[in-house]
């Protein structure tokens, strides 16, 4: 009840009445509530889930083996038999794109995890301990940052060779400064918060402090970076493969499939169209989701 009734109040009362029982409000629940209200973020999430399902059930979905060559049906236009057409070796592009989902998502996931365990961890350490540790780590990161990310990755691939582990290592090293910087900022923001100072004042142990207070509060921001970096690594990976310094054939990675088709751009555009669409849809979905997460975890930024 209130002093004065307005339509806005009735609207909210109705909304509250619809809610079955008062839910205990935790930060995570609040974030989910904000995320749920964001239609574009939900679309992103749905697409990401579909992509994950495609990746898991790739063998069931793909009608052909991704490397089966069929010289009787080379460079066919999209048809009922070959949804996305076939490439110069007569391989079914649809199957390659489906398997490509598996490879691209997995490699992106590896890259992101690796990046978090290298650069991310360094950033957390720098942010948490501050002082000299912080200075040393961040000065080293400055040095790494002097080389543009994709150039660094290419140099590493050039030296180590084309292959999935090499690519993961390359993207990991290349992204180290950015990762460190982002995670450090996340920790610093939490560290500066009043409740950390108060728990320090009442003598909460350092380890306990990191586990119980800082990580949970920084985790929202880190999830945003995590999802964002998945898109970045897919983009980097495909760009590198496309110009021939990423993965080696015949891995069905989207950038490589594009590379296979680039010579036939004018007379067989479907060979590049479909893998390009896959990259676009995937990155778009990750970015939409990441943006929704940003609003959900960090409403101040909006």
């Amino acid at each position: 009840m209130a002093k004065m009734h307005t339509p806005a109040m009735e609207r909210i009362e109705k909304k509250n009445a619809r809610r079955k029982k008062p839910v205990q409000s935790t930060p995570a629940y609040e974030s989910w509530k904000r995320f749920k209200r964001n239609p574009t973020a939900l679309i992103g999430l749905a697409v990401v889930i579909i992509l994950i399902l495609i990746a898991i059930f790739a063998p069931l979905i793909a009608p052909y083996d991704y490397q089966a060559q069929d010289y009787l049906s080379m460079m066919q236009k999209p048809s009922a038999a070959h949804l996305f057409g076939t490439d110069t070796f007569g391989r079914d592009i649809f199957s390659r794109c489906i398997y490509g989902t598996r490879y691209s998502l997995l490699i992106a996931l590896f890259c992101t995890i690796a990046a978090f365990f290298s650069g991310g961890l360094l950033g957390i350490i720098a942010g948490y301990f501050g002082g000299k540790v912080d200075t040393i780590i961040m000065r080293i990161m400055d040095i790494f940052q002097a080389i543009p990310m994709i150039m660094m990755a290419m140099c590493i691939v050039a030296v180590l060779g084309n292959g999935i582990p090499q690519l993961v290592a390359a993207i990991m090293f290349a992204s180290m400064p950015t990762m460190a910087r982002n995670n450090r900022a996340a920790i610093l923001r939490v560290r500066g918060a009043d409740y950390i100072e108060s728990s320090e004042a009442i003598g909460v142990g350092q380890f306990k402090m990191i586990i119980k207070h800082m990580i949970p509060n920084a985790i929202g921001i880190m999830i945003i970076y995590f999802v964002g970096f998945l898109a970045v690594s897919i983009l980097m990976m495909s760009s590198m493969s496309y110009i021939g310094v990423g993965l080696a054939a015949p891995t069905p990675e989207w950038g490589l499939i594009l590379n296979d088709g680039k010579a036939y751009l004018t007379n067989a555009p479907y060979m590049t169209l479909f893998p390009a669409m896959m990259i676009m849809i995937t990155c778009f979905a990750f970015n939409l989701m990441g943006d929704g997460l940003r609003d959900a975890f960090d409403p101040r930024l909006k």
Binding site: M1, A2, K3, M4, T6, A8, M9, I12
Partner: protein, 328 residues
């Protein structure tokens, strides 16, 4: 023309978001006579700043809504004015001094430019004349005029507040709203700024609303006092009436919580409980839970304003016929 510069009547302001409606100002009515200083007192969240922003027409867009009431400046209802007309009012007829001088000035513009800006907006004059006026204003608030070329970060907090005051007074407004002008400053500087404000107010005959939670400041500066609690004006009257003869239990409790040099007490009086949640106010007196003069009847009514003495208005059930005898 009436002798009242400002008449606020039945003003209700709500903040509406998707999640809740905050009843920031609930049905307040007061008048301010020309040349007078009114103190607007109350604790944090009582709706003092919202009232001020409402008068200025600066409520946060989309969220802040004036639900009902009127705000009359010399008889003209400000709420009926177009945004364009309001722009002519702001800075020229009503000015406002904000709470935190550290952030109230644009960091990338010189203070001279920032004072000249308001002069240029409301007067037909050249940039040079405006800058000259800016220097006069700086001198008036006790800053060397030559410093008009300096940037805000080159001044201390107290100096910045002087500059903010200079901006507010540059067009000689009829009404000045000062929103806790000294809260963010050191105690020693507080006194200087208040002295200066009082002097400028006297010299120019400006009417002023002084928002504060410091009763000492009110006692020194104001002629009338309005006490706000949970968005309502619980007591309004002249300084003498409200200070010497407080009627509302909240006002009385406020005085008891001021430390006194005469009496030696172990602990200061604390008003028990918390301020009511402004997004969920009770249908009866908002102060009920914390009141030590309440009776059972208080739960049944929303108290209405009663004029206990001429010009002294209290919003408490005990001054109405509904009050059924002192169960104090």
């Amino acid at each position: 023309m009436s002798e009242n510069i400002l008449e606020v009547k039945d003003l209700v302001i709500h903040y509406e978001t998707d999640e809740e409606v905050v009843e920031a100002v609930n049905d307040i009515t007061f008048t301010l006579k020309k040349g007078q200083v009114m103190g607007l007192v109350g604790e944090t969240g009582a709706g003092k700043t919202t009232t001020a922003l409402g008068i200025m027409g600066l409520l946060p867009s989309k969220v802040g809504h004036v639900i009902q009431g009127s705000i009359k400046l010399e008889g003209e209802d400000l709420l009926r004015k177009s945004p364009r007309e309001m722009r002519d009012v702001r800075g020229k007829r009503i000015s406002m001094i904000f709470q935190d001088p550290m952030t109230a000035l644009n960091p990338v513009k010189t203070v001279g430019d920032q004072i000249a800006e308001v002069v240029l907006l409301h007067n037909r004059c050249s940039k040079a004349e405006a800058l000259k006026r800016a220097q006069e204003m700086l001198a008036m608030v006790g800053i060397v005029p030559e410093r008009y070329k300096d940037y805000p970060h080159q001044f201390s907090g107290g100096m910045k507040q002087r500059i903010v005051i200079a901006i507010a007074l540059a067009c000689e407004p009829d009404l000045l709203i000062a929103d806790e002008p000294t809260t963010a400053l050191d105690v020693t500087i507080q006194a200087q700024i208040l002295d200066m404000m009082r002097k400028l107010q006297k010299d120019h005959g400006t009417s002023m609303i002084l928002i504060t939670h410091d009763l000492g400041v009110v006692a020194e500066m104001c002629e009338t006092v309005a006490v706000m609690y949970a968005g309502q004006l619980v007591e309004f009257g002249s300084l003498e009436e409200v200070f010497d003869n407080p009627k509302h239990p909240y006002t009385r409790a406020l005085y008891q919580s001021i430390p006194s040099l005469d009496k030696d007490v172990e602990r200061l009086h604390v008003i028990p409980g918390m301020v009511s949640d402004p997004s969920n106010l009770p249908p009866y007196c908002s102060f009920f839970e914390r009141c030590d003069e309440k009776c059972d009847r208080c739960r049944d009514f929303e108290p209405w304003a009663v004029e206990v003495d001429p010009g002294h208005v209290v919003r408490c059930l005990q001054y109405t016929p509904e009050w059924n005898g002192g169960e104090k």
